[in-house]
Amino acid sequence: MPAFFNVFKKKVLTKLPKDPAILLSIIVIWFFLLLFILFPLSKIFILTFEKSGHFTFSNILEILGKRNHLQAFWNSLLLATLVGLSGTILGFFFAFTSVRANLSKGWSKFLDGTIILPLISPPFTTAIAMIFSFGRRGLITYNLLGINTFNVYGLHSVLFAETITFFPIAYLTLKGVLAGIDPTVEDMAFSLGSSRGRVFRTITLPLAIPGLANSFLLLFAASLADFATPLILAGSRFPVLPTEAFLQITGLFDIRGGAVLSFILLVPAFSVFVLQRYWVSRKYYVTITGKAGAQTQIKSVTSRTGKIFLTVCILVSVSILYFYILLFYASIVKAFGANYQITLKHYTVVFTEGLKAIKDTLFIATIGMLLGGVYGVVVGYLVSKKTFISRSAMEIISMINYSLPGTIVGIAYLIAFNNPPIMITGTAIIIIACYVFRYGATGIRTTVAILQQIDPSIEEASFSLGANATTTFKRITIPLILPGLFSGLGIVFIRSMTAISATIFLVSINWTLITVRILDKMTELELGVAAAFSTLVVVIVFIVIIFINLFLRLFRGPGAIDMSNILGG
């Protein structure tokens, strides 16, 4: 026993923080991580592999034995791959145009502004607009082109809608990557006699490959997790896993089946998570930078090509804008497709029947944002500034709920918290917990990133000026963290406003959410009301973004909200 104790002491006790406050914080955080991340996830595993007390694969085999489900699995992979490819290509095209085609400030802002829209929109937005545009009586297919045989349901539509919805993630990722490529490297290749095309092929593209791979994985994961778009647009011939899991539970009252399906979904999702974390993130080329900012004038494209690229980008942006204008228009006419009389009746519905959902959503999003912010800062601080025995485990586990498709998280919570000892289904707490431990991860990431940026010499400089540790923490560290914290908070809020895939399982008679109401209204065919709700969400989110950016400007912090942290709901 003493020998064991000595090992224990050496391996564990000495690595525990001496400071009791830190130790307590670590214990408390671990308690919550176990309760709200590992416990629910373990329930999915148990339901998947257990049958009358025994370990078994028969549940999985049974589910996969159904043609529909097996099809859904392959469909999900196919869709995610295609969205990953098309979104990355489109995103790269936009990023290349924006970084290399010598855009004027105005156009640059226009592109950035429009591209943000899909990121901050509630789910279904693109799907609704697609139906309005390309349905049998769609504005484009029928009224414009006179086609009435076009089938809006299927892979092509989901692919199109998800590409439009998710390519901004690729754009933001790749813009950073392209802007990070030292322009002198391209200049150098030119001066060695390369043509523009050759420079692109041999220098720009190879240097962007890690970024492209990363963007592909991000989009793959986003599409794999997307529940809203396929639910509306896939049609019954193209089932995908998240919607199948949803229907399995809500339609067939088969919670075990839903759990098994979400477990199957977990396999590719987790592979992507691992690939991204351990492979792509290490593949970035170290660019050796010297004096930056030599304004280079000879861009990678001729001004004519640049104009063509810009025109294409503008066309895509305009079609995104068109979707939103259409959405707004649908919210102010009596019945889109049949009666185009202007009316406010949908908004009346939103602000009477829908008022509870609005209040609930704002309340939950606000509380979730505050708690998520505190959680993000605490965990971010612990994992980046402290060394303790379970540090990297804490870092990875805190990212799990964020990285997994919402459907899995939602189902896991539904199973885990519906029975004693913790019975919180039907309360706001379950939705808030879901947001905090899912989107709070973005707060962790921002905090870690900021703390890494803060040069220790800044804190040392403050000490050397005679400030003590408390003053330093208050005057230097906190103000430096704050801007990042606020942008992290903003993201938690926005995602709380627009999420559905997890929370669809968690809403209740007491607490409901705008996004769920949008889905209800869509299934009840109150498309006008659905459009009005969606418009409202876009407006609220816009106000919040403007507010946060103003606030950040007051702090003179580093830039605006980092939109690349936003993924689809």
Binding site: V185, D187, G193, R198, L207, V286
Partner: protein, 364 residues
């Protein structure tokens, strides 16, 4: 390799700056570089030297003026058609390519045969002392080695001219001295007409056939290191190359070939052919520290001063002397003589009359 000259005629370039608005980065630059010569553009940061170089390379387009490489007007030619070797300050190595592939890049573009490519790359790598590094990647080698790869990559294509943009500024002091003589050796043995940009006057003096001093977008003076040091055409050049003292003076008499000026209590005669100098005019007179001498006792024709600082630097001693409230720097290369002078000592200060200079051009 046939070397050619470089000719810049009336080059203008204006940039739009975020804060300052329109900035004339390069303002009417004329420069002729004979074949096989190395000319350095020297000046403070922001003087337009790098912009000028980038225009020669074709990375920037001049607003006005023409650039000739030999007989050919290349003003509107793209960078990839100029056959120029360029070495960037940060080397701009291709991070995803090996050292071999970096160097071979330009040859591949030219489409030469693989055997020839291999031969030339190996040759050039041997020349810069990097044989055996072929399979390494840029991030795996040291800064000095990266610099040599950049150089090898630029000259392996046998460019008509070689352009170097502060190629040594990322190296430590010792390596810098070594590498610059290596560059000079390569440039001379390969007979490459070259433009070299730096803000380091010592480097410029060590490596160049001629130096063009630039300030605020203009070339102030072009000449050999000696010419610039001993016959600066302006206050700016005089101050930028070496150190120089400035003393207040009043013109007493002005003739065609000389003027008489009064500096404090004494009158000096300065040979000059400059026009427009009139009696009673106040002006500054300049003299380099090594042309001022100290004496124990002030003679009749000498100024008086007090030594306020004395720094012993081995082969030379630097004094700071207060002369009627003005600070004068004096350098003495005579250690024995210097030992005689102590801090706070009253001394005589003798200005070598023929080394006194006056400028009508400020140069900035």
């Amino acid at each position: 390799m046939e070397a050619i000259g470089i000719h810049l005629n009336n080059i203008h370039k204006t940039f739009l700056h975020r804060v300052k608005g329109e900035v004339k980065a390069v303002n009417n630059v004329n420069l002729n570089i004979e074949h096989a010569k190395l000319v350095t553009l020297l000046g403070p940061s922001g003087c337009g030297k790098t912009t000028t170089l980038r225009m020669v390379a074709g990375f920037e387009q001049p607003d006005k003026g023409t650039i000739f490489l030999g007989e050919e007007n290349v003003t509107n030619l793209l960078a990839n058609k100029r056959n120029i070797g360029f070495v960037f300050q940060n080397y701009a190595l291709f991070p995803h390519l090996s050292i071999y592939e970096n160097v071979a890049y330009g040859l591949k573009v030219q489409g030469i045969s693989p055997q020839e490519e291999k031969k030339r790359v190996n040759e050039i790598l041997a020349m810069v002392g990097l044989t055996g590094y072929e399979a390494q990647f840029p991030h795996q080698i040291s800064g000095g080695e990266q610099q040599r790869v950049a150089l090898a990559r630029a000259i392996v294509i046998r460019p008509k001219v070689l352009l170097l943009d502060e190629p040594l500024s990322n190296l430590d002091a010792k390596l810098r001295v070594h590498t610059r003589s290596e560059i000079r050796r390569l440039q001379q043995s390969l007979n490459m007409t070259s433009i070299y940009v730096t803000h380091d006057q010592e480097e410029a003096m060590a490596i160049s056939d001629r130096i063009a001093i630039m300030n605020k977008g203009k070339i102030i003076q072009v000449g050999s290191a000696e010419e610039l040091y001993f016959q600066p055409n302006s206050e700016f050049v005089a101050k930028f190359i070496g150190r120089i003292n400035s003393l207040p003076a009043e013109v007493q008499e002005a003739d065609d070939s000389f003027i008489l000026v009064k500096i404090f209590s004494h009158t000096y005669k300065i040979s000059t052919t400059l026009d427009g100098i009139k009696p009673q005019q106040k002006m500054n007179v300049f003299i380099r520290p090594e042309f001022v001498q100290l004496s124990k006792q002030a003679e009749e024709n000498e100024l008086k001063g007090i030594i306020t600082e004395k720094v012993f630097l081995g082969e030379k001693v630097e004094f700071t002397v207060d002369v009627y409230g003005h600070t004068l720097n004096i350098t003495s290369y005579n250690a024995v003589e210097s030992a005689k002078y102590l801090l706070n000592q009253e001394v005589g200060v003798c200005l070598a009359e023929k080394e006194l200079k006056i400028f009508t051009e400020k140069g900035d």
